[in-house]
């Protein structure tokens, strides 16, 4: 019941962008074009990591105007559950893999008079695709890009050439920082705001925009919570009649899939709502990590997003 059939691809290239980031190129195994997508879309990459399958979402950074291949830039996360480490260590050119078709939870609103893009670090990837798209279709935009240093700022050269004066860069190691108050109080009516980067930066931008009176419908953000590792726990699946053990480096959704159950999902980052699952009973604490459920839904203890959220306690029964 995952909403899509996987696509067979071949890793056509792996490029080291800097000491932390690698770029992966995928071509269709059957040689055809990959599905069309729009700037801001992501794919879910399937990784056969030992005896379990990992599925992790990554933004597409290549141009939506060229679907002969897909490109994703992945930053190595030494603290994560291992998805990015797997990609960095195991994935080599020529390897066969499976990816999901693209889905876009961070699209441009094309009614905008102006697109104001704010990126921090690896959060630059969806904007690489979006600016490629706008280069062709036209559209007024500017990109503000904060990086740790010139060495760790991915694609500064490509963006500089493509965007010219529309690119504004900020280097942490030179004590440069974005003045969100000034930026967000001087935008013309009809501007849409897009932000992608580390959580504290996203929160700061959203808070500043809301305080400055920006309506929610003009604010867009990409906030994938990567499923974090955590204490192992057990979940009973009432519909399937099985009990699954969720390992330290496994998400609840991955454990459900490992039991052979085809559960729904789309983003695997707690943002899209597709995997929402009803909690029938529990003794313990639901550890919500998503950006989907409302506060009252969390308080009710009746729902969980198994792609990112975990559990701590004696007993958890899910309607799955």
């Amino acid at each position: 019941m995952s909403t899509h059939a996987a696509i067979d691809v071949i890793v056509s290239d792996v490029v080291e962008v800097n000491s932390l980031i690698k770029r992966f190129h995928f071509k269709r195994s059957d040689g055809g074009y990959l599905p069309a997508f729009s700037g801001g879309a992501h794919i879910v990459i399937e990784m056969q990591d030992g005896d379990h399958i990992r599925r992790t979402p990554y933004s597409l950074m290549s141009s939506p105007l060229d679907t002969s291949d897909y490109q994703c830039s992945i930053r190595r996360d030494d603290e994560g559950r291992g998805g990015s480490l797997y990609m960095h260590r195991e994935v080599k050119p020529g390897m066969a893999m499976k990816i999901s078709p693209p889905a876009n939870l961070f699209p441009l609103d094309l009614r905008a008079r102006k697109h104001l893009m704010i990126a921090g670090g690896i959060g630059i990837t969806p904007f690489l695709a979006q600016t490629s798209q706008l280069e062709r279709t036209g559209g007024h935009y500017e990109l503000h890009y904060g990086v740790r240093s010139a060495e760790l700022g991915a694609y500064l050269d490509v963006l500089g050439d493509r965007l010219q004066h529309r690119l504004h860069t900020y280097f942490d190691d030179q004590k440069q920082s974005m003045d969100f108050d000034a930026l967000l109080s001087t935008q013309p009516a009809g501007t849409h705001l897009y932000v992608c980067g580390p959580t504290p930066m996203i929160d700061k931008v959203l808070n500043t925009a809301r305080a400055a009176g920006w309506p929610e419908s003009h604010i867009h953000f990409e906030h994938f919570s990567k499923a974090a590792p955590g204490e192992p726990f057990t979940a009973e699946l009432s519909v399937s009649g099985v009990t699954v053990e969720v390992g330290r480096d496994q998400s609840l959704l991955e454990a459900i899939e490992a039991a052979g159950i085809d559960a729904p999902y789309l983003c695997r980052g707690g943002a899209c709502g597709q995997c929402e699952t009803r909690v029938l009973d529990y003794e313990g604490e639901l550890l919500h990590e998503d950006h989907w459920l409302e506060d009252d839904e969390r308080a009710s203890g009746e729902k969980i997003m198994p792609c990112v959220s975990r559990f701590c306690g004696k007993r958890l029964v899910l309607e799955r």
Binding site: S185, A212, E216
Partner: protein, 204 residues
């Protein structure tokens, strides 16, 4: 004052009650009886509201009593402009929107025809309708698009109504186009043009 009965029709616009927002600046656009909604809004707002706000007021055609206009003038808006009709307010509204900054709250009030027009002008300027505040005051007269000739007829009060452009007799539907800012009018007697249903004045 006429009140709207909201039918269960998804596209039909829903209006609320204007509430002062905590934004740095405000743009208020009012038509006719919307003047009272502006007075109510300012009465609820902090004392410096009008000093940070622009008010465009379309008084309505053939108005001999200037009391609404003078009551609004007395509120002390930083910028206050009047026009005879909602349509006549559009060029100034467009110019104001061009210079507007994000974070300015927009408030729209007046009869349904005027609200349709104001919302459309604002969304054409790139503002999402969900960020606009609206309050209905005055008549329920509708802005209607003829789905056959695409002509817009303002201030439609009857059901059915004639298209002011092609002359077809139209059923005025609750089906609303936000892009065009108008209710959809569909020919009511296409099979037999000699069958002319009686007109009722229902959008008063």
């Amino acid at each position: 004052m006429s009140t709207i009965e909201y039918a269960d029709f998804k596209s039909r616009p829903f209006y609320g009650v204007l509430k002062p927002a905590s934004s740095v600046a405000h743009l208020v656009v009012a038509e006719g009886e919307g003047a009272q909604a502006v007075l109510d809004l300012v009465a609820k707002a902090p004392a410096d509201f009008a000093s940070k706000a622009t008010l465009l007021y379309a008084e309505g055609p053939y108005v001999s009593d200037n009391s609404n206009r003078e009551a609004l003038r007395a509120l002390g808006f930083a910028r206050f402009h009047t026009s005879a009709t909602a349509a006549a307010a559009v060029p100034r509204l467009n110019g104001t929107l061009e210079r507007l900054r994000m974070g300015t709250q927009v408030y729209l009030t007046g009869n349904e025809s005027a609200l349709s027009l104001f919302v459309k002008v604002c969304t054409d300027a790139g503002l999402d309708y969900q960020g606009l505040q609206t309050e209905h005051r005055g008549s329920l007269a509708r802005r209607m698009q003829c789905v056959h000739c695409k002509g817009i007829t303002e201030e439609v009060t009857t059901q059915p109504a004639e298209c002011a452009h092609c002359g077809l007799l139209l059923l005025v539907r609750d089906h609303y186009s936000r892009r065009i800012g108008a209710f959809q009018g569909v020919n009511i007697n296409a099979e037999d043009p000699s069958d002319v249903p009686a007109k009722e004045e229902i959008f008063r």
